[in-house]
Subunit: 421 residues, 2 copies
């Protein structure tokens, strides 16, 4: 754990209990007082603690498209309840019980399932079971799984070059990368994703997609498909994992071409309806209606958990095989940790990245979907456990909450394995 | 009908069947071809025939808030079906059967209920039973009914001045108008609503609310509550009806203050949930999240019909009194046609405007909710008939479709009265 020490000197922020968005009065009143307003264009919707409200109100800030649910399948509740366990945080950052973990990580909502039943479900602040919260990069794991399914079904050739499927990208840095390299983020492109750096390329990407406000005079790319062909190559493809959101939007483009479907319709048909989602989800979209596949999905907590359960159950809902089992198996198997180690976050030693899922290779075989500010799906197949968590941590990078989250999740997995198996 | 002759020389547009949005390929492909794109900022979403797509995709174009449904109550279907009737259009503009009427009025979706059962339900182009279409000024009738209910319940004093409820409006043209004058649009204010005039005040209102695109450099009011206090007085209040959208947004502000609720939550609690809506509705919102009560509601066709049924049933759902019967009765009774006649559209002789509903005073006692480009709820209590209609007529003013719509609706009421009563 020595490589964690670098993250212990974090800036200080108000404790979660001292920045509850309801108690702070954000956006209450007609109109809300000037100092309680949260808006897109003035960037207040991206500031902390305003994010504690805005992450659950994206639709009010930007244009969106719906991922339609079908017939809802109920989630049953277990009588067991959540074991009262303790965890020790990484890097000497304390620890405690799960209440402490939830506080330390600015958790907005948390749900734990065990053997398909809900053990624990909790909502803070503005969150309710019906509220769609932004999933951030957990969105990527939906696209990665969609792609893995199409590969398993023979509809997408993972060895083909990106330029084969999307000729507009042939001359870009992505052109000669394979679909597999995009799916596992081993492309070599000139694109940085350090959220703490205002000059990082990711912000050009976000402004193009209308996800971040633009200056009054803006002459940059008008939408995602305008931006992606501008990304240049840097280094070689396939050598190492480097986390870059642009890969997901390229993958989204490829899938749209391969299926002939809009992203939101594909996700509705292939996952949202079959898994029995209880609410529609929605994506933020760019100026021409393109879903922000890299980070713009908003869902209820329960539907996030349903997706985790779908994978834990090898792609099945009851006895129905909804996703090809091979695609799920391939995801749990992960990729080469050696390619991950060079650029993976210090909180994830020995992990890999496959089909846009984070694979722990731990004794429980856990995998995660992860989004900035603490969005998570955590699947522990050995413990038959799925955790869905929405959060609004003041620090974007998960290095801010991993030291609490990861030990707490694994401790719960161990406890459940011991308690009821 | 002689006062209709002025509207017979309308510009010509492609026939409805020649501008089906699916066949025209709007917004299909990844990305859609440049000449098939519909965007908010470049105003293409307001052009004809693009409106045939955009009226059913507002959420993809602007920020929105949800009016949440609760438990859906099914709509039953009658075995009778729609009588095959003929109508004669006003002003010598032809006529025919209902298929002709739907074509002539660019109908996107139409539903006819008789005695609480669906007789006919039809969807064109991009519309489906699950699609929310913009209701335009039909939105106003929801606010007017909400206000009438609060008056009937003693929570809102219709004789009070606007400035009493909203001090920010005290110095504006609305300040010394009564709530009733706002509800019936007899305020005397300096505000023009001629959609064919680019200089009309209504466009300043729309730009403030983010409903119309703003120029690159925009220094006008930032949101609805910034704009409304700027409206000046012109003439006297209470003298005559003049149709002005600003009245509704003032009423929405008053209701938000009186109830302490956000508009979308009030509508959900008071109407959407009790009437058994089968889908959420949504409002477009301004930069600080204020619902555009004057014209920004988007609903499914079936939920529009449910609202009509609620009024036809005197505010009851089954045996439950959802809305005060007095508020509904007051609406059907209408206002003074003499005050209406000076400024009412020529297609509505003898009508009046009450609680933001259009009251025919015809032998059937029909009332309507009406929105530009052909949005309608038509309630014929004598025939036990409710019609909900969404459309995308090339001409904003209903003078473009009233000559077909009104005779066809009344002919259907007569036929149903004769057929089954």
């Amino acid at each position: 754990m020595s490589h964690i020490t670098a993250v212990t000197a974090l800036p200080t922020f108000p404790a979660a209990k001292d920045c509850d968005p309801v108690q702070l009065g954000w956006m209450q009143g007609s109109p809300p007082p000037v100092d309680k307003r949260i808006q897109f264009q003035d960037t207040t919707s991206y500031r902390f603690p305003q994010v504690r409200w805005s992450f659950a109100h994206q639709r009010q800030l930007v244009p969106t498209v719906v991922v339609a649910q079908g017939h809802a399948l109920p989630l049953s509740t277990s009588a067991h309840g959540l074991p009262d366990i303790q965890y020790t945080a990484m890097g000497g950052q304390g620890g405690g019980n799960w209440t402490n973990m939830m506080e330390a990580t600015y958790t907005d909502a948390l749900l734990v399932m065990h053997k398909g039943h809900v053990l624990f479900e909790h909502y803070n602040g503005v969150m309710t079971p019906a509220t769609q919260h932004i999933a951030m990069s957990v969105s990527k794991s939906f696209m990665g799984m969609m792609a893995a399914c199409l590969v398993a079904q023979g509809q997408l050739d993972e060895t083909q070059r990106v330029g084969h499927y999307v000729p507009e990208l042939a001359a870009s840095g992505f052109g000669d990368a394979t679909v597999r390299q995009v799916m596992d983020m081993t492309t070599g492109i000139d694109y940085t994703e350090n959220y703490a750096d205002p000059q990082a390329e990711v912000w050009n990407h976000m402004r193009a997609g209308g996800v971040m406000p633009r200056p009054a005079v803006y002459t940059g790319p008008a939408h995602f498909y305008d931006y992606l062909p501008m990304v240049r190559k840097l280094g070689e493809h396939g050598e190492k994992f480097t986390y870059r959101t642009a890969n997901t939007d390229v993958l989204g483009w490829i899938l749209a071409r391969v299926t002939g479907q809009r992203t939101e319709d594909m996700l509705s048909q292939k996952i949202w309806q079959p898994m029995g989602a209880e609410k529609d989800a929605y994506y933020s979209v760019d100026s021409i209606g393109t879903a922000f596949t890299g980070g713009g999905l908003n869902t209820t907590l329960r539907d996030l958990a349903r997706f985790g359960e779908l994978l834990r159950n090898h792609g099945r809902v009851g006895s129905t095989q909804v996703l090809p089992e091979a695609a799920v198996r391939d995801t749990f198997a992960g990729a080469d940790p050696a390619r991950f180690a060079q650029n993976g976050p210090p909180t994830l030693p020995g992990w890999s990245y496959r089909n846009m899922w984070w694979v722990s290779h731990n004794p429980h075989g856990a995998i995660m979907a992860r989004g900035v500010h603490g969005q998570n799906i955590y699947i522990d197949p050995k413990a038959d456990m799925v955790i869905a968590r929405y959060a609004s941590h003041p620090i974007a990078a998960n290095i801010g909450n991993d030291p609490h989250t990861l030990p707490a999740y694994h401790a719960m997995g161990l406890a459940l394995l011991g308690s009821y198996s």
